[in-house]
């Protein structure tokens, strides 16, 4: 089971519910940490491992959706599963828009809950792997000089050295030097590999002719 080393965080103000969920999740082999309030949970962060959060929508103090926003601010990628005692459609829609993993109605059946938790943890694992790749690429990207970066952006659009030189106002020879350094620093052997790396961290290439609006878009 993918979640065996994962931790599930339960945030619910009702002690009975907390105890019940704790037992159920432990019986499925997860490590479980329970919190009475959003404040307590936020104090527990940061957490670097894999896992997910089960969050009660309606709590005194900070409510579930408010906590969800705060977690987002803290750059925590833990997926959130909401539990609600009554199907409040507008709250659930808002939560899903903010990226909630799922929105379950109380009382929730063990199979449904555990499946959602499993998927959430799996997704978190993927996210974390992706995150690690991205961080590595970004580290490399940070070693490029400004000029090298300019050249790289031209290269991944498939431009010829001559074209790049004209666009940046430098000689073709200089372009070649920069291009060689870019390939070396980014640890790639081909333009195709470079394009893939850039794509991974959200630097995309698009033909200016195909879409006149924007040629390069940074997605954060």
């Amino acid at each position: 089971m993918s979640g065996e080393s994962a931790t599930v965080f339960v945030v619910d103000d009702d002690p009975s519910v907390r105890r019940g969920l704790d037992r159920l999740l432990r019986s499925a082999g997860y490590a479980v940490e329970v919190f009475e309030s959003a404040k307590d949970f936020l104090a527990r962060l940061p957490y670097r491992g894999t896992g997910c959060i089960i969050l009660d929508v309606q709590m005194p103090g900070t409510t579930g959706p408010e906590l969800q926003s705060k977690i987002g601010e803290k750059d925590v990628s833990l997926p959130v599963v909401f539990l609600t005692a009554h199907g409040d459609v507008s709250t659930s829609v808002a939560a899903m828009k903010r990226g909630a993993m799922d929105f379950l109605e109380k009382p929730v059946d063990d199979e449904v809950l555990l499946e959602v938790v499993r998927q959430a943890i799996a997704r978190h694992a993927v996210t974390q792997a992706h995150e690690r790749d991205r961080r590595r690429i970004e580290d490399r990207l940070a070693t490029l000089s400004a000029r090298e970066r300019d050249v790289m952006l031209e290269v991944i659009q498939g431009k010829l050295n001559k074209q790049i030189g004209a666009a940046l106002g430098i000689t073709e020879k200089t372009v070649k030097v920069h291009r060689g350094r870019v390939m070396e620093k980014m640890g790639v052997g081909s333009v195709a590999e470079l394009v893939h790396l850039c794509d991974t961290i959200g630097i995309t290439t698009e033909s200016p002719k195909a879409d006149e609006g924007e040629s390069i878009r940074q997605v954060s």
């Binding site: 009975s16 519910v17 019940g20 037992r23 309606q58 063990d110």
Partner: protein, 1034 residues
């Protein structure tokens, strides 16, 4: 896009609206409609909605409810369906819904409607629906977009039709309930007013009329009521009695013939009903101008008639708002007019009677003094006589002129004038100054009656000019010492006002003149004494009322033919006998004592001090009389001159008056109100027709009446009635069931007061008897309705709590399910942890109980039951309710603080107490809806305080201003857009039904508000007794 209040979903709205109106009390419907119009407008993104009702005459649509978004023009208040929007009017009457997405949708014939849509206040797009009740169209409701054209989906239109149906029904229900409820109450008012006037002494009538007007003003919520009396010449209505609310001016003192339209209707006996000024027809331009000038927006005028004689009118008006005057209400006001007319008629009659008696006594007195006058004091006596007459008529001059036939001249010999006017010229000579007057009086013996200068015939122009030059406006001149050439003239004149001279007094004045002249003669001719006595005898004998002279020993010295007629004796049977022979035996001893006591008094007085007097006739029957006494002193000793008026006729007139005042009888019938009179002299009980109908049998004494009461009530009733006399309790007010001989129990209310003579002996008692069975039944209904209302309020509130309650229930269910499923999983493991499994089961049991408690709490709230009072611990009630509200408080972001003293037991209905607490806490939640999130806190505490338990619910909301603290407990005093405004009213009625009190004050530190209610602690309970009580109970 700026977001103000989030618009509700239109679909959900219709269901809520329908539920809201089902339970809405009639008084709340107007406010309810207005608030719903706003909600609909917001939900549909419109700018305006209005509801207009067809006026009584069917020609006008009157806007009665509206919501217009800020910054947009409202719909006009009045729309004439025949001229303003004729096409729309036709469509509505045909019951059609009119959907106009844009102005082009209108058909060609809708010319005016098109103009209206293109006008500044016109809609760009709207839906107009007829308000239909049982096939009748009573008005319209319109929803309009003023800013843009829009499409109206069939779905929306259908829902609007549904809304129109619900609102039309609500309006109709309001009209009906108003009619039933309010008419019932108005009839009670009518009955209490008419009870006031039964046998009310004439001098109290003015005050009673004024206070009746005040009661009507307060009852109808209008601001002015006025009684107007018609002038003698029937051209002007004078304001005589009125009541206005503080900031309203009374009506002007007089309304003249300009108001021809109103006058015309009133004099035909028709009421004038003006619901709004626009209702007035073109010919009522003067009325319209007047009403607009004085700011009256709505009025009713009721003609006051006594038989065929119009006495005046009563008007009721409102300046703040337009008032609907339903036909049924106008009818009741007409009845009220009947009561007023009866009272005014009786007052006028008694005034006239009193004045006539006064005049008789005065003439007799003056004559008697002149008979007995000393020769050297004759001038003084004559002047005194003139002064007396002057005062009686309120005139400015009274003269005695003497003619000299040889010289053909006449001069004023004696003059009395009011202190405030210029004296007449001493040498005034009639023949030279006023030749026609001289000719008429002294040559032809004519009496001159010139109430106003216009009464002078044209040929008397010189005389008129002369008189006017003296500043005189009104003259009466009576020739004296008749025959062909009168020698004297008695004159009365007024320079300050026109006096309508009562011609019926002229013959008596002439006799007085005779007496005066005689006295003068005596001063000139010796031995005229005898003639003088003759003259006096003539005065006495020709008097229209009884006059007799009684000597110091009470012997009758002289009795005129009228006395003989009144008492049925011949003159010689009376002369020399004791005057007490003419009194009922029971009165004689008292009269003798009285006569001795007052023998030395001088001056005119009425006998009996307002008591009713009876004389004994020769045939043994009694006759009601009024008696004036005036002592006279002559050379032969003291005498008392008694003027006796037979009041039989007046009593008959009074009876006729009562009969003619059909309004009173009618009012009595409607209000199931009869009157009774106990005549203490005749020892007889008299019942009005309606009173007889109520008790079902004729009866002549109180005993018969008491016999109708239930045996267990009789002793108490006898005592209460006896107290009327013995303790001089001047009023009784009793209510008890009776069983009339015809069967069927009735509840009657008997009110009355006793009237005593000056010496303290009972004269009569009078009052009303009312069949209040229906009112009591209505009150019982009201009580049931109130319980129903409490229930409705509870259910409505539980409804709003459903979401929270679902949460309360789902929490334990979640825990149970998770625990159970975890247990199953643990059991599937190789070595299940038994300790953990035991814990799980314990948790499941506890959560199951918790769920059950939520359900039973909710069920108790929804149950509709009759009150049952048991011992209830207040702290427990608070804990239960706050438990139910847990999620609601969390959802609203509210911090809760509690502090309960345990063991404060009260005898109460648990569910009702829960409801009070629930309403107060929910009210606090509502109050803090717009407060800063971190400041939302509710503190609930309870504790014993001086024999009561006090519960305090405090919030940190905006608080309630001191002025509003009293009114928040009134029904529908809501400031909340969605509330029914019943919550606090329900709290108060429940707390008061438990013998407690509720109030609101500023919260701690002046922040927020604190509702405090107190309920008496159970006797014998509390800390030291609480538990024992339970043990000794079987």
């Amino acid at each position: 896009m700026p977001e103000t209040t989030p618009a509700e979903s239109f679909h959900g709205l219709v269901a809520k609206l329908s539920a809201d109106f089902v339970a809405m009390p009639a008084e709340a419907i107007d406010a309810g409609i207005e608030s719903w119009l706003e909600r609909i407008v917001r939900a549909l993104g419109l700018e305006r909605s209005a509801l207009a009702q067809i006026s009584d005459d069917g020609r006008m649509l009157v806007r009665t409810h509206a919501y217009t978004a800020p910054g947009f023009p409202p719909l006009p208040e009045h729309i004439r369906t025949d001229s303003d929007l004729p096409w729309l009017g036709r469509q509505l009457r045909a019951g059609r819904t009119i959907v106009v997405s844009k102005v082009e949708d209108l058909p060609a014939e809708a010319v005016q409607e098109r103009q209206f849509m293109l006008s500044e206040a016109g809609p760009k797009s709207n839906v107009t629906l007829p308000l239909k009740v049982g096939g009748n169209v009573i008005g319209l409701i319109t929803f309009a977009s003023l800013s843009r054209e829009r499409d109206w989906s069939q779905d929306v239109v259908q829902r609007l039709e549904l809304i129109a149906g619900i609102l039309a029904n609500a309006l109709m229900r309001k009209r009906k309930e108003w009619q039933i409820g309010s008419l019932l109450r108005f009839e009670q008012l009518l009955s209490s007013i008419s009870a006031t006037f039964v046998r009310l002494p004439a001098e109290d009538i003015d005050a009673a009329l004024r206070s009746s007007l005040q009661e009507v003003v307060q009852f109808l919520g209008i601001d002015r009521a006025t009684i107007l009396s018609l002038s003698d010449d029937r051209t002007v209505l004078y304001r005589t009695h009125w009541h206005v609310t503080s900031d309203i001016e009374p009506m002007p003192p007089a309304l003249g013939k300009d108001y021809a339209w109103s006058f015309g209707k009133l004099s035909k006996g028709e009421p004038v009903v003006v619901s709004c000024i626009a209702d007035l027809p073109a010919e009522a331009a003067v009325e319209r101008e007047y009403l607009e000038r004085v700011g009256v927006r709505s009025m009713v005028a009721i003609p006051l008639f006594l038989g065929d004689l119009m006495l005046g009118a009563a008007t009721f008006s409102a300046s703040r708002e337009e008032v609907r005057w339903p036909e049924a209400l106008v009818q009741r006001l007409v009845l009220l007019g009947g009561v007023f007319a009866g009272a005014l008629g009786r007052q006028a009659m008694e005034d006239a009677q009193r004045e006539a008696l006064h005049f008789e006594t005065l003439i007799a007195n003056v004559s008697a003094r002149l008979v007995a006058v000393d020769l050297d004091r004759a001038d003084e006596e004559v002047t005194h006589a003139l002064e007396t007459v002057l005062q009686f008529f309120g005139a400015d001059y009274c003269t005695l002129a003497e003619a000299d036939p040889d010289m053909d001249q006449a001069h004023i010999r004696y003059l009395a004038s009011d202190a405030g006017v210029a004296p007449l010229p001493a040498d005034f000579e009639y023949a030279s100054k006023c030749p026609q007057t001289y000719d008429r009086i002294f040559r032809r013996g004519e009496t001159l009656v010139r109430s106003r200068m216009g009464d002078y015939p044209a040929e008397d122009a010189i005389d008129r000019e002369m008189v006017e030059a003296l500043g005189i406006r009104s003259i009466l001149a009576i020739p004296i010492a008749g025959g062909e050439r009168p020698r004297y003239c008695l004159g009365l004149a007024s320079s300050r006002e026109n006096i309508i001279w009562p011609e019926e007094y002229v013959p008596r004045l002439r006799l007085l003149g005779d007496a005066l002249v005689n006295a003068l003669m005596r001063t000139r001719f010796e031995g005229a004494l005898r003639t003088s006595e003759e003259r006096f005898r003539r005065v006495v004998e020709s008097a229209p009322n009884g006059v007799m002279m009684v000597d110091a020993d009470g012997r009758i010295v002289l009795a005129n033919p009228q006395i003989e007629r009144i008492f049925g004796y011949r003159g010689e049977e009376l002369r020399g006998r004791q005057v007490e022979m003419l009194l009922p035996p029971g009165e004689r001893e008292r009269h003798r004592a009285y006569r001795r006591e007052h023998a030395s008094e001088s001056g005119l007085r009425a006998m009996g001090g307002g008591r009713e007097l009876y004389g004994l006739r020769k045939d043994g029957t009694q006759v009601p009389v009024e008696i004036g006494l005036s002592p006279i002193r002559t050379n032969e000793g003291r005498f008392v001159l008694a003027t006796v008026v037979d009041a039989t006729e007046r009593k008959q007139t009074e009876k006729a008056l009562r009969d003619s005042a059909r309004g009173l009888a009618e009012a009595q019938k409607i209000a199931r109100l009869g009157s009774w009179t106990w005549d203490a002299v005749a020892q007889k009980l008299q019942l009005s027709d309606e009173a007889r109908r109520i008790v079902g049998v004729e009866m002549a004494k109180f005993g018969d009446f008491i016999a109708l009461a239930r045996p267990q009530d009789r002793a108490e009733l006898s005592e209460a009635i006896a107290r009327l006399w013995t303790e001089r309790a001047d009023a009784i007010d009793l209510e008890f069931p009776i069983e009339p001989p015809g069967g069927g129990e009735r509840i009657v209310r008997v009110r009355g007061r006793a009237y005593f003579g000056q010496d303290g002996s009972p004269v009569r008692a009078a009052g009303t008897i009312q069949d209040v069975s229906e009112s009591r039944k209505a009150e019982e209904e009201t009580r049931k309705l109130r319980t129903q209302l409490w229930h409705t309020d509870r259910v409505a509130r539980s409804g709003t709590l459903t979401a929270s309650l679902a949460h309360e229930l789902n929490q334990p269910l979640t825990a149970i399910l998770s625990n159970a499923q975890a247990a199953l999983r643990f059991l599937a493991h190789d070595e299940p942890d038994l300790a953990e499994l035991r814990e799980i089961l314990a948790d499941i049991v506890r959560d199951d109980k918790r769920a059950a408690a939520v359900i039973s709490g909710l069920r108790a709230m929804m149950r509709h039951h009759e009150t049952e009072r048991v011992s209830v611990d207040m702290a427990a009630v608070l804990t239960e309710v706050l438990g139910l509200l847990h999620s609601e408080l969390i959802g609203a972001g509210i911090d809760l603080k509690t502090d309960f003293e345990q063991g404060c037991n009260v005898l109460a209905d648990r569910v009702q107490l829960q409801q009070v607490v629930l309403n107060l806490v929910m009210n606090a939640v509502e109050a803090m809806r717009d407060s800063h999130a971190e400041k939302r806190r509710i503190s609930v505490s309870c504790g014993g305080a001086g024999g009561t338990v006090q519960v305090r619910v405090q919030d940190t909301g905006p608080g309630i201003s001191p002025q509003r603290r009293e009114s928040v407990f009134d029904a529908f005093a809501t400031t909340k857009p969605h509330g029914m405004g019943l919550g606090l009213a329900v709290c108060r009625s429940i707390v008061e039904s438990h013998g407690g009190r509720i109030r609101v004050e500023a919260g701690d530190g002046g922040q927020g508000s604190r509702f405090v209610f107190e309920i008496p602690l159970m006797a014998g309970t509390g800390a030291e007794f609480g538990d024992n009580c339970v043990e000794v109970a079987p």
